[in-house]
Symmetry: C2
Subunit: 218 residues, 2 copies
DNA sequence: CTATAAAGTTAGATTAATCTAACAAAATAA
DNA sequence: TTATTTTGTTAGATTAATCTAACTTTATAG
């Protein structure tokens, strides 16, 4: 079994690495708020346990075993977020910190029950894919809103780097998953966009737009 | 803030001490499965934090502060058990180990939500009282089934020391909280009892009967 | 292609929580 | 009331996870 601390390193690797699966010691250090020497020594420990591939001065990579274990933690996190929103009535901006703790609960039955009560959801409340029971994550590639052009009509599919502040910002503008957005114009200077949706019009900065993942609407 | 470890010591004290509020180092040691020297040093630490009264060679007592903090942990435990049974469909024999972990979640909102969704319950699924939002526990005194006499009719109010095994044993005999039990006879030799309930008749050992808390039925 | 900056590692210290071995006090039994 | 058992404490070691300071390697910019 892995310690809570080890689980946090695995999850950080999983989230930082993306599809290729690499992350630098420095990235991990900043992401976890833990100094580099500590990260280095933990990487050696995880390498001993065959959870990561580690060579001095090179980026770290999860092994298949590590990827699976990390995926299962992320699964627990995202299932929990979904449960908190769907079954307990929390807002999507409130659930991250709670899920951050509940993801470490050791009880397959508990998460299976959530899964079942939710009807085996594929996505969490922020549109992120929930890894399957083997920890396998189905990668979906959306477009960033900022990569779309004036005139496009898109559907909001996911929110990335969704800090509580950002999610509240979206709440205040009535922006939620599934929403149909029409791009009226894009400002060449700073990439800000004028959007219409739900019969209203709003201007969104590029900083915000980068965090909104969309697909072309039919 | 208290560490997870400290929380476990506080809870153990709360559960061991009962109404008077004392527990010996030895009791704590056995209850927690931790060696006595470790317990002693933790008691000193908790005394520093004004959570317990500690004097060498004397039983340990929770301070008011300690009692409150311990009570709030027990509250989280029991609310969780209730939630797992009532809202997630777990059996009363399945919830202890999960609640043991969830009780350490730091999120007042999470437990407030449970409380609200449950309609502010006073008792957990085993009939134990849930401490209030100040950690205060309302003591109720029931009778042990073994203290009743042949001819008595009682209502089952709570189960103590309810290990998973014991709860399954009760399930197998259709014994549940709220059940009306009629005591047909008591065996003088070993205290075992013949009971009728739900139109059936069963014999129960004193070992089992001691763990069943009842009140006289009207 | 060197010089500087950034990233990574090594060595050694610290803290929390645990242990064992040895000793001391209190409770119990003879 | 003394001897023995039980309970509790002290001292010192261990492990996991962290840190800082100093050094090394790799990357970047003149």
């Amino acid at each position: 079994m892995n310690s809570l601390t080890e689980e946090n390193y695995l999850k950080a690797l999983f989230n930082l690495a993306g599809e290729n699966g690499e992350a630098s010691v420095n990235d991990l250090s900043r992401h976890l708020g833990i100094k580099m020497p500590t990260v280095t020594s933990m990487m050696k420990k995880l390498a001993e346990k065959k959870l990561v591939h580690y060579e001095s001065y090179k980026p770290v990579r999860l092994t298949d075993k590590g990827k699976k274990e990390a995926g299962l933690i992320v699964r627990k996190h995202r299932l929990t977020e979904m449960y908190l929103v769907e079954k307990m009535g929390f807002g999507w901006e409130e659930v991250h910190d709670i899920a951050e703790q509940i993801e470490h609960i050791q009880s397959p039955a508990f998460f299976d029950k959530m899964d079942q009560l939710l009807g085996f959801p594929k996505l969490d409340p922020h549109g992120a894919v929930i890894p399957d029971k083997n920890g396998k994550l189905a990668w979906i590639s959306y477009h960033r809103l900022t990569d779309c052009r004036a005139g496009d009509t898109v559907r909001l599919c996911a929110v990335v780097h969704g800090s509580s502040d950002f999610l509240l910002f979206l709440n205040n503008r009535g922006i939620r998953l599934g929403l149909r957005l029409k791009i009226r114009s894009v400002e060449a200077f700073d990439g800000s966009m004028v959007l219409t949706y739900d019969g209203r019009q709003e201007t969104l900065s590029a900083t915000a737009g980068e965090r909104l993942l969309v697909e072309k609407a039919k």
